[in-house]
Subunit: 366 residues, 2 copies
Amino acid sequence: MKRNNPRSIDVLRKIVVMAHEAINDFKALRNPNLNIPIRSLSNINFDEERRMIEMGDKTQERIFFHQGMSKKFMQTFLVANACTELLKVEKTTSIRDLFYMTKHTLSRGENTFDDQAESDIIIEDLEVTLGALREELHLFASNRGTMVGNLTLVDSGDTINARRIGSGGWGIPSIVEEDVIKFKDCDANYILLIEKDAVWRRLNEDKFWRKHGCIMIQSQGQTSRGVRRLIRRMHDELNLPVYVLVDNDPWGLYIYSVIKQGSINLAYESVRMAIPDARFLGLSSFDREKFDLPDVVTISLDKNDEKRAKQMLAYPWFKDQKWQKELKKLLDSRVKLELEALSAKGISFISENYLPDKIEGADFLC
Amino acid sequence: MKRNNPRSIDVLRKIVVMAHEAINDFKALRNPNLNIPIRSLSNINFDEERRMIEMGDKTQERIFFHQGMSKKFMQTFLVANACTELLKVEKTTSIRDLFYMTKHTLSRGENTFDDQAESDIIIEDLEVTLGALREELHLFASNRGTMVGNLTLVDSGDTINARRIGSGGWGIPSIVEEDVIKFKDCDANYILLIEKDAVWRRLNEDKFWRKHGCIMIQSQGQTSRGVRRLIRRMHDELNLPVYVLVDNDPWGLYIYSVIKQGSINLAYESVRMAIPDARFLGLSSFDREKFDLPDVVTISLDKNDEKRAKQMLAYPWFKDQKWQKELKKLLDSRVKLELEALSAKGISFISENYLPDKIEGADFLC
């Protein structure tokens, strides 16, 4: 992001204010402190009206003259300082890089950070304290996901026509804000998000997106921040419905739920990432009977699956009757299904039968 | 691949011959058998002249009337049959899909396959027996890796200018043979393959490829078949040197070695994938001193690292003095280094100092 971008100026200003307050406390012989919003199950709630997971108001103090907190206090300013540098030179970097940029040995032999897990937590602390996404602090997570379909966009000044991007597709970057990605010409009817790259590839080969007029994205498992934010922007700005296609197991359902409602960890970002109107296309536990899938393609639930499904049943944001029904059916049937299991019905069953049936029949979970 | 493509005709013909031989054996009351080349350390050798790992001549028999082999015999023909279907309908699919396509329950309650590991092995058996790559059997591995740089190519009829592909890049497909990918206008001086996507992203933001006239590919860890084959084709057809940038640990060195010399498992494919002239840019264990990297960014070798490095020291294809020196230095120093460790010297140290020094100074391992 350019240094003179209003958002960058705002973020830099907040960091400077935070630093000046600490310096003033030192000068006045007060104990410097930071108020950091709490990011855990105890400080989130499910907003029924907005239908998303949101962060509450609880904060914790981080003070400097305190044996248990002084290191974290120092780390917070080290990371804030590195982000200030990034903002000033208009460069972005990975959270792993940031760890190395801020890791050094202090005079008494102690390291500022020993492990990336430490600096990752500080990044999240800074995000909530400053009210700035990590992308606005010029930090990126890993690039993941590719896209193809009925849309032209501009990425860093280059025009990308996603209708003419071959079998490989366009790699979705991790920073997709307005100053990097701009949408141009779109003639898609919806966005189809697919958990698995092999299924995306199959559908791309069948040119499913051209026949049905859509944008197809694969997320390679749990959706990256870049993919979530991009889909949310397309949903808002291009007015496109979002359909999600995942494996029939607790993890697939959870991937869908994060896209729709947000996650506990990133509750403070729901407002910019969650898509409450996203629709679940499957696989549903009810699809086995509906599409007459043979038993041989099912996989038994293991202990982790069962534990996870039961945990999900108890979360407030899975209280909707349709979710409860779906999760209970999964537990009762004792089996899960992968998207590839549809191939037992034929190589193009998914593109020629399953998806058209689901979308045209408006056969959604919720 | 089109059904009337000469290579497809050849592969189909070989499958039909294999099937007819078995049928004729049945009719003549002989025990049908297949001769399958052995894919293990016992049947590979390092060709000193061609500088690559190659498969030897040893084969194993797979006969039908044999308690221990009849199931595998049946599985081989099941997979061959599914590939024949794929070739005939001109579609490709994933090896996971193939597992589901061929998995079913036989009349006595036994499954044709219980686990994908079983069908994966049969695919490799078929590849060596038929002398056809899995891509020629219309099977693909996962898509992985992205590309940007001074090259225009055609992917499935779409023209991709990799100089104008934004921050995200072009996703490299898993099938990159001549009928899918064609090279057009290239003004690159070399190919830079990077193990880590965060480093690729950093260099792409610095427009390293434009300044230095190169093609930049990231492989997200171990290089996929698609990436290996694509780089090999660019090396051969566009006459480009290949430079490899990986972490300084046994896994990074191994990634480089697979690109250069091939692997044990895929020895039969070296001839189409290995690039003996590929060059190692680093990180080298000697870079710590050369670039004055602080101790604090090093990571101690763990037991697996040590075990792996010792194993590599013993392989014939690491017998070159330079490899031995590098591996011994790694073991002696007892530490490894990630590419991101270079950021301790500054955010753009890698693009402005490290890489230009290495490439212009022709400072290569071997």
